[in-house]
């Protein structure tokens, strides 16, 4: 048996262990969580070294589960899921490092965090739509508790809104899947089987079913105008949870779109393609403009996530090789960069200054008080702007090429989004870190206000360097991931999406 399914079991067992360790001390709980997440990440990397890229899903486990309905416990991997598995390991490890200061009910916090991670691993490994759905729900539930219990600003509201949107989205997905299964006389929930079954439905039903499943998943990916849960949820969540939320949970939605929704019905996709693309480009620009107007730094990052996920959706809507590979690359890239940004804002700044308002931060000489945080935020900001040399650039470039091939006007508007991203990121950098009057010549003069912030801890430094390393590495060598992703695009299911349903 391959290593990858162990990521789920290790994370689940780790959740129990962390809970038990938390009864002893917070320290024990966080070390358990770190060992577990790092161990699971090591498993994904180890599996990646043995991975042979190929066009089809490589089955890892395939057991009957509910034979009466043809539901199987089918775990499989290809280059796309492997990319996201590695991302999950990385983001989870970093999230634990940035949750190092959780003291209140630490055992439960890390137990929930690890359950969430287990669910995410499960989603990325599932090759049966119903199993996929089960893991998807496992990932959603802990989110609610993480935000509602350990969150900050408006946490009950944020948690509730997020949970309601997520459940509404998943209800749509489930309804769609059951409709296909029941309405089309299906025999199972394998992705290919579902697509085959759906093809037997009448045209208008296919269109409707596709919309249910696609927009159900896309809600979680933050598609405009169903994105409003994302900024409020991200803002309310504790740092580690925001990192996972933006870093991997939004990817669940996009992954569901790519893996389940798009292959479901070529007819449905052909009908909805322009709508999806337009919503994606509107999301890119609109969310960017909203980010430009925010005073709460975390809201800036929250809206920037919506803007960046718009690129993912645009790549999916372009439905060609560049669009898809760029979308997967962007999922990875955004997972790393958004994690980094939330880490700086939530952990490094907010936990020390207790404010995230740009109007307050600009009065603080943060660049001298927290030089490391300033440096990390500048690097993350540059990466988030899509400047070349960081992972966002090859991803957005590939998506733009794909979108241009599908329809130049989509690419043209999305390129405007790049400009807006530069504007809001630079504004945030400038106000948060460089807002105060320059220091009197000579540096730490007597005029400096006596503000003492706790220095940046080793755990924070380690987490930040890990994420920066990943974004630079992929920025300079995107082939590392593209070599996995591109062969996977040759799979019959995705090929038929790209060819508009013709086999």
């Amino acid at each position: 048996m391959s290593l990858l399914p162990w990521t789920i079991f290790v994370s689940l067992a780790g959740a129990l262990l962390a809970w038990a360790a938390g009864r002893r001390s917070a320290r024990a709980a966080r070390w358990t969580a770190l060992v577990v997440t790092a161990g699971a990440w090591a498993l994904t990397l180890l599996a990646a070294t043995r991975f042979v890229p190929g066009p089809r899903l490589q089955t890892l486990v395939d057991l009957p589960w509910i034979p009466a309905m043809g539901i199987r416990c089918h775990l499989a991997v290809d280059g796309i899921s492997l990319t996201l598995l590695v991302l999950t390991g990385l983001a989870a490890t970093a999230a634990v490092l940035f949750s190092w200061n959780i003291r209140e009910r630490a055992g439960e916090f890390f137990a929930l965090l690890l359950t969430l991670v287990a669910g995410v691993y499960g989603v990325f490994l599932s090759a049966d739509a119903l199993l996929f759905f089960v893991f998807y729900e496992i990932a959603i539930v802990p989110k609610y508790f993480l935000i509602a219990t350990w969150g900050s600003t408006n946490r009950e509201y944020g948690a509730m809104k997020l949970a309601l949107y997520s459940f509404a989205g998943s209800a749509m997905v489930l309804a769609g899947l059951l409709w296909v299964y029941a309405g089309g006389d299906g025999h199972g929930f394998g992705f290919a089987e579902l697509a085959q079954t759906a093809a037997g439905l009448p045209r208008h039903q296919q269109i409707f079913v596709f919309a249910l499943v696609f927009f159900g998943f896309a809600t979680l990916a933050g598609i405009f105008p169903l994105h409003t849960w994302a900024p409020t949820g991200h803002v309310a969540a504790p740092t580690g949870a925001s990192m996972l939320l933006a870093g991997v949970v939004m990817k669940l939605g996009a992954y569901g779109c790519l893996r389940v929704a798009l292959p479901l019905s070529a007819v449905g996709f052909a009908f909805w393609q322009p709508t999806i693309a337009w919503l994606a480009v509107i999301g890119i620009v609109y969310a960017g403009l909203v980010a430009l107007m925010q005073d709460d730094l975390k809201f800036v990052i929250g809206y920037s996530s919506v803007s960046h996920m718009g690129f993912v959706l645009l790549g999916l809507a372009a439905a060609n090789a560049q669009g898809f590979s760029g979308a997967v690359l962007q999922m990875f890239s955004h997972g790393v960069i958004a994690g980094l940004l939330f880490a700086v804002v939530g952990r490094m700044i907010y936990d020390r200054t207790h404010t995230r308002r740009l109007s307050d931060l600009r009065a603080l000489p943060l660049r001298r008080l927290l030089p490391f945080a300033a440096a990390v935020f500048v690097i993350a900001g540059i990466a988030s702007m899509g400047l070349p040399g960081f992972s966002g650039f090859p991803a957005e470039l590939t998506i733009l090429i794909g979108a241009w091939k599908a329809a130049p006007v989509w690419a043209a508007i999305a390129a405007l989004g790049v400009l807006v991203a530069a504007a809001f990121t630079l504004r945030a950098i400038q106000l948060a870190f460089f807002g105060s009057a320059p220091a009197p010549a000579g540096g730490t003069g007597a005029g400096a206000p006596a503000i003492h912030l706790e220095p940046i801890t080793l755990a924070e430094k380690a987490g930040a360097l890990l994420l920066i390393g990943a974004t630079v590495l992929i920025g300079l060598k995107p082939d590392l991931l593209l070599d996995w992703i591109n062969p996977a695009l040759q799979s019959p299911l995705l090929q038929s999406v790209m060819k508009g349903g013709r086999p």
Binding site: L397, T398, A415, L426, P478, D479
Partner: protein, 513 residues
């Protein structure tokens, strides 16, 4: 392929210096300065070595390095050098150490400043040497980051707005440039400049883009054009420039105007013209008008300034617009028979000389204004000085030479470039010459006003009190620049020899596909 990756060395040596500075936070000001200066000098050292082993008769790329990089985007790590790039590398090699020197007394914490400066230097070199869009764009965009912080952290009172505007304008231009190359890649499947130039010359690129239909082929051209037009800048995309140059610290203004503004001109000549000969020809009329607008209005705006630094900044717009004027005149005339080869060669060689000469003169002028400002305790208005010649005769002499070089006095470097541009444009688009002459008159007027109000008359304003003459560092910066002004004024063939075969080849490519 050369055995030693000399071009990589050229680009990455300053970055290595930056990495060393970043890695040694306890380095004192003195040793940071020395380290930064040494690494900054590597460019000049390597450039001089290149000058020796460069094959002047060849028009192709030399010292080429090409390695596979990103298979999915067909991107290669591809560097190469021809006469044009060598000219710019030399310019960077001369200006970078001098700009660092110029900043020595101004900057209390030189470690971080020099670190950013070396990053900027390496990125600028990368732009001039990269031959594949992917990493060319990395250098192009990454040069903005250190430039932003250099302006923001060490600039004047309005530096926050100026730096923001500078980056947003340039990134805005670059977004369209990026979109243009996205379209080019979608049409051709390659990012390689050499390959793209070939496709541009034989009309394949135009034919493939035409397949898009509608307005899109023109949009691709305009996107690429806009990216470079903001950078140079071409009128009316220049409004970011005066505040950015005026707010930046002296050394940074020197490098921005001397070397970084050349990235735009480089883009026009290396990419826009070879890739889009047809659309450029079609758009040459309006573009000529814009370039003339830059020449004339830049000079007239300079005339209206009372802030000396902004005056020099506007004069930079005027001087760089001559380069674009020449290029647009050539493309307006391309495809015409009989081909105006000789005039085109004159225009091109004037452009390249102007690129180099403007770098030298503008750097000297910015340094001089910076010196005035430092002596006057931060004031730099036209009315804040008087009789500086009496107070500091040596400085007045050196600065006067730089002014006359900028004005285009024969015998100094500025003359040759502008003369050749006028000579070329006269043979291609004669009507443009009298209009451009208005710019010359205005330039003469404002520079002479500057000279008269600041240097002549009785000592007044800031020069009335204690106003020391040039000192060691000032000599070290100004004397090499002034010496080059004389040298290149008398012996322009030192430079033209580098790129003459290239120019002849360019001028021979005036037929349209």
């Amino acid at each position: 392929m050369s055995a030693v990756p000399v071009l990589s060395l050229l680009i990455f040596a300053p970055w290595l210096g930056a990495a060393l500075l970043a890695g040694c936070p306890q380095l004192g000001p003195r040793s940071s300065r020395a380290l930064a200066f040494a690494f900054s000098l590597t460019t000049l050292a390597v450039a001089l070595w290149l000058l020796g082993s460069f094959d002047r008769a060849s028009t192709g790329y030399q010292f080429v390095e090409r390695h596979d990089w990103i298979a999915a985007l067909h991107a290669h790590y591809h560097l190469g050098l021809d006469g044009f790039s060598l000219l710019l590398v030399l310019l960077v090699g001369i200006l970078a150490p001098l700009s660092l020197l110029a900043s020595w007394r101004q900057i209390p914490d030189p470690r971080f400043f020099s670190l950013l400066f070396l990053l900027l230097q390496g990125a600028t070199l990368g732009v001039f040497l990269a031959l594949d869009f992917f990493h060319w764009f990395i250098f192009w965009e990454l040069s903005l980051v250190p430039a932003y912080f250099l302006i923001r952290l060490w600039g004047g009172a309005g530096s926050a707005g100026a730096a923001y505007q500078f980056v947003i304008y340039t990134v805005g231009g670059s977004a369209f440039l990026l979109l243009g190359f996205v379209a080019i890649f979608a049409a051709t499947g390659t990012f390689d400049f050499v390959e793209l130039a070939r496709l541009g010359a034989d009309g394949t690129l135009a034919a493939r883009l035409a397949g898009l239909g509608g307005f899109w082929p023109q949009a691709v051209f305009l996107g690429v054009l806009l990216g470079f037009a903001v950078k140079v800048p071409l009128f009316p995309f220049h409004t970011w420039l005066p505040p950015a140059y005026a707010e930046a610290p002296t050394g940074v203004s020197m490098f921005l105007t001397g070397a970084m503004s050349k990235m735009g001109v480089y883009g026009f000549l290396r990419l826009l013209w070879p890739l889009f000969p047809g659309p450029l020809h079609a758009a040459a009329g309006p573009l000529l008008a814009l370039a003339l607008g830059g020449v004339v209005l830049g000079a007239f705006s300079a005339m209206r300034q009372t802030d000396l630094k902004r005056m020099i900044a506007y004069s930079s717009i005027n001087h760089l617009s001559y380069c674009l004027l020449a290029l647009f005149a050539v493309s307006a005339a391309s495809g015409r028979s009989p081909p105006a080869g000789e005039a085109a060669a004159a225009a091109f060689s004037g452009t390249l000389l102007q690129v180099f000469n403007h770098g030298i003169s503008a750097a000297a002028l910015f340094y001089g204004v910076g010196l005035l400002e430092a002596r006057a305790g931060g004031r730099r208005g036209l009315g804040d000085f008087g009789g500086v010649r009496a107070a500091a005769p040596v400085f007045a002499g050196l600065f006067g030479i730089a002014m006359f070089s900028s004005l285009g006095l024969p015998g100094l470097n500025g003359f040759v470039g502008e003369f050749l541009i006028f000579r070329g444009v006269w043979g291609l688009q004669a009507w443009a010459v009298p209009v451009a002459c208005l710019g010359l008159f205005a330039t003469a007027y404002f520079l002479l006003t500057f000279w008269q109000r600041v240097f002549h008359g009785p000592r007044a304003g800031a020069a009335a009190g204690d106003f020391p003459d040039v000192s060691g560092v000032d000599f070290a910066v100004l004397v090499p620049l002034v010496a080059l002004m004389f040298l290149l004024g008398v012996l322009p063939q030192l430079l033209t020899g580098l790129f003459n075969p290239l120019i002849t080849q360019w001028a021979g490519h005036l037929s349209l596909p």
